[in-house]
Structures are given as C-alpha cells and as structure tokens.
Amino acid sequence: MNEHKEIRDNEADERFIAQAKAHFEDSVRSLDGATQSRLNQARQKALAEAATGAGFARWNQWAPVAGVAVAAVFAIVLWRGSPSLDERMPVTTAADFELLLNQDDFEMLEDFEFYSWIDIDDVGSNVG
C-alpha cells in the first residue's frame, strides 16, 4: 500500500517538475528582442575578454623556454662556483674595529679641518 502511494507521489512529482519546466521554457522563449539584444552584447563583451585571455595564454607558451633559459643560467653560475667569502664580505678585521673604536680617531675628527690643512700642505710641499 505504502509502495503504491510512494510511486503515485513520485509520478506526481515528475508531472509537477515537467510542468514547471514547460512554463519556465515558455517564459524563456517569450523574452523580448531588447533583452535578447542586451544578452548578445554581454556575450560579445565576455568573448572579447576571453580573447585577451587567450593572448595571454599564447604569451604563456614561452614560459617553458624561459624556464629552461633560467635553469641554464643557474647551472652555469653553480658550475663556475659561487663567489668566495672574501669576495662577498668587506674586510672587517680586528684592526679595523680597533681603528673605528679608537678614542684618538674621534678627537682627530673634531680637528678635521686642521688635519685636512696639514694634508694639503704636505701634498703642496711634495710638489714643490
């Protein structure tokens, strides 16, 4: 008994859905010309966007080539060896720090004009 009711309900559901679909399709077919024209314009605009995207996709086809080129450059750099520690780091030995921290040097900076004058004078005397 319940099975029969379930089948009847299902059939009624199917009829209802088919009816709803038919009314919906009728309303779709009844769309006016102005609306259809606007839809057409919207579609053309979207396709123009897609064409731009395709152009980008074509440009992207060079990506593997670019990748190989970058990998080749990287391999060459590795093969030739990375720059040594001496090349990359400025010389900061203990003597340099001592020079920087020496109190006398600060005093020298205070009399910078005087020492500068002596330096120029020395150069001048050497020339003379």
Binding site: F16, A20, K21, H23, L31, A46, A50, R58
Partner: protein, 202 residues
Amino acid sequence: MNACVGGFAVSCTRVSDTGVRPLQREEELNRFFAGVEKRALRIAEIAIRDRDEALDLVQDAMLKLASKYSHKDGQEWAPLFYRILQNAVRDHHRRGKVRNKVMVWFGGAKNDDSDYDVIAAATDPKGRTPEEQLQTTEAMHTLEKALAALPGRQREAFMLRALEGLDVAGTALAMGVSAGSVKTHYFRAVHSLRNSLGEHWQ
C-alpha cells in the same frame, strides 16, 4: 604544438595547454553562452525580481567565466557559470538586506516585489493578445511567487535541477554544497512548491 600551415598566417593557430586552439575555444564559449544565457537570465530574474539587475548579473558572470575559467573543460562551464551567478545573486540579496535596514532606519523601507510585474516584464514576441499572455504566464507568475517564498537554498536547488537541468553533481558544484545536500534541498523544494501551489496548478 604549432598548427600553422606554411605561410598562411590566417590559418595559423596554436594549441593551448588544454589541447584546444584559442579560436576553437572562443567558438565553444560563444555556443555555450548562447545556449545558456536566456535561461540564466530568467533564473536570476526569478531570484532577484528585477530584469535589469538580472541582466547585469548574467553579464558579470559571463565576463568572469570567460576571463578566469575559459581554459577549463567545457563540461565544467555550466556548473561554474551558475556558481558565479548564484554567488552574485546571494551578494545581491545581502546588499538588499543592508539597504532595507538603512531604509528602515530612515523610515522608508521598500518592498522589492511591490512594483515588479512578471507579466508586464514578459513581453510576447509571438504577438499573442494580453489576455492570452495573461493565461499562459499566470501559471509561471504563480510559480515564481511560490519560488520566492522558498528558503534560498531550496530555490537554488529547484531552479538548477528542475529548470536549468543540471545533474546532482553539477548542482552541487554550482551551489557549493555536497550532493546529499542538493538532494535534500531539492526534495523539500518540490514538496513545498506542490503544497503551496496545490494540485490544480498547471
């Protein structure tokens, strides 16, 4: 792969990473939009009760699909397109709620359905008289009102499954829910609509 033939630049096309030439893809996209746009417009219109705004939402969905997902397999376009559209519809409803709250605050809330006439919006290119149009669209008008009264998810499930004809998996992708959830929403929607429209609706 290069599909260029000799020096004929016009026939020179390249195959994209999806294995489909851009021109071929554009034609497929054109056919897809042409096939789906009218139903998509009506579905958006039923959901938001405004044809102009529905047109804007459909256009935005087309733009988004074309610019972001045109490289996807053509079989995926319909659920993706409707997912974009449904998200736009939900955003529209959210904005409407906020707008209504603001309007209530200033004492002038507007009912979106108040000045929307489905029959007037559905002009007939077949040249039927207004009376005939009234008869043929009355059932749809009643259905639209019943759909508007449904919870959002049930309405989406019914429109995508019954009206647009997506399968359960496609509807699930479009709605962003599981297949089981689609079946539940759809079942409830069908029975709610049948109850509210009555046995004599046809």
